[in-house]
Point group: C2
Chain length 291, copies 2
């Protein structure tokens, strides 16, 4: 069994980006600049945005945090996005989700200029991704693809089961894995809440990508020998023995499934750390497209 070490891989990717930024700098080319829009003071959101800003500094990107009050109107928020759309210094930006209830998330995401939509959530990018045109692939599925590429996991003709049909993970990765590309060409089945025969499906699968959010749902008796398991689940489970009061659990019963798997991502330290690395990769891409 081989651990798909997302932490290590994300550091390698960040190092690569850092080198490229440094080269750009010596050639007097534009330095990538990522902005993050945060509305309100949600604890988890503050942590995520903070970590994105820190990563920018680490690799030599410029970064801007736009921290807005939780009672900002939707109109005012959209006008802030419009400033970012117009600002030539900003290559890409993200709007940290979730937004307060009085703001329509859909309208806000549609206000992001697709050329700066480094989260890849705008329908124009989504459509371009499906049609295999240049786009921004959302960070989590992009991270999964990168794990598959770098660990040279064979996917062509393999049975791949994606569990969960969310627009940010399950849906896009199910599409990407079945495209006619070197990291794709898998026969993909997309399972979800209405799927009736899940164990039958998991037992037939060469590759399982789980984005369900149910801790330790995938048990060892549900998978076949040599399965490749990519665990996107991140659930906080309360744990009094931990100083934070919780621990992070994935969708997979790692201790047991890892004994049977050929490759497996741990949680934490698997897909999670890849997400920020791929957001930075998208920002670099946005900047290079303007060269």
């Amino acid at each position: 069994m081989k651990i798909l070490d997302g932490r290590k891989l994300s550091n390698i990717i960040k190092e690569e980006i850092k080198k490229e930024v440094s080269k750009r700098s010596s050639k007097k080319k534009k330095i990538p600049h990522l902005a993050a829009v945060l509305v309100g003071n949600d604890g988890a959101s503050l942590t995520y945005v903070g970590s994105k800003v820190r990563s920018c500094k680490q690799i030599g990107f410029l970064s801007t945090l736009i921290h807005l009050k939780s009672d900002i109107t939707e109109k005012k928020l959209i006008s802030e996005l419009d400033k970012l759309n117009q600002n030539p210094s900003i290559d890409g930006y993200i709007v940290q989700l979730p937004l307060p209830n009085h703001i329509n998330e859909e309208r806000v995401l549609l206000a992001v200029d697709p050329r700066k939509d480094v989260d890849g959530f705008h329908p124009t990018n989504f459509g371009r991704m499906v049609l295999e045109l240049p786009s921004f692939i959302p960070a989590t599925p992009f991270g999964i693809i990168e794990i598959i590429k770098r660990y040279k996991i064979e996917t062509s003709g393999k049975n791949c089961l994606v569990i969960g049909r969310s627009n940010i993970v399950g849906r896009p990765i199910s599409i990407l894995m079945s495209q006619k590309v070197s990291y794709g060409n898998a026969t993909v089945t997309l399972a979800h809440s209405r799927t009736k025969n899940l164990k039958e499906l998991t037992l037939k699968s060469d590759i399982i990508i789980s984005a369900l959010g149910i801790p330790e749902f995938l048990k060892v008796d549900m998978v076949k020998e040599k399965v490749v398991v990519i665990d996107v689940g991140i659930t906080r489970v309360s744990d009094k023995n931990n100083s934070k009061g919780y621990i992070i659990k994935g969708d997979v019963d790692y201790v047991n499934v890892s004994k049977k798997a050929s490759y497996i991502t741990p949680v934490p330290g698997g897909v999670g750390p890849m997400t920020i690395a791929m957001l930075l990769q998208n920002t670099l891409l946005a900047c290079k497209r303007k060269d």
Copy 2:
């Protein structure tokens, strides 16, 4: 076994649209106007476009045929599309494919205003469809969905196999069938040229949608009892006994598979006739969105 009669259903839909147009007319509302852009004199294309124009007349739509010479430059073609984009009388238009070799199809399709893209081929519409926002669903998958709805075929939790991953049929229908909607919620597997165990998959499937283009490929020993079969294949097979010199064959060995199926589309007379009906439906929708 019940035949899914696409010819009959397409006539019902055209009648419904005709009534709505007549109502709009009596209320002095705008009459839907579809334009078709045809480049060159390809025989099949002339037939298709002619049939679209005739259908418009039948149901009371306005229609415009823009017939351009095969040696038109890409730039000139795109400027023609721009006129259509600007023309408020035109609600929707299609560019008949294929285009001559010297013209880049991708650049041309990207020049269509997504609000007038009644073929649903523009990435913005594709992305909106995937993200379940208002869009234009491409006519063939839209026709399949309409067959499923009108014949009240149960899809929730069913194993649905889509064979073929083209951007105009296989890919979009695989997405639609797995969405959280009344006609969806199926557990969808998308098979294609790299799939290794196709017979194993077809035998497990409650619903098979085949868009492969190999005549009579799906045999009776490949399907289970009570399967629902939707045949999108349309291949010309030479036949000296036929006055045209060919007959149309689907992907399915209809004579034998129909004995085992619960529902099946014939070819011709199944999905094919639905395509034009749904193009007209999209044009009506484009017109109504401006009300």
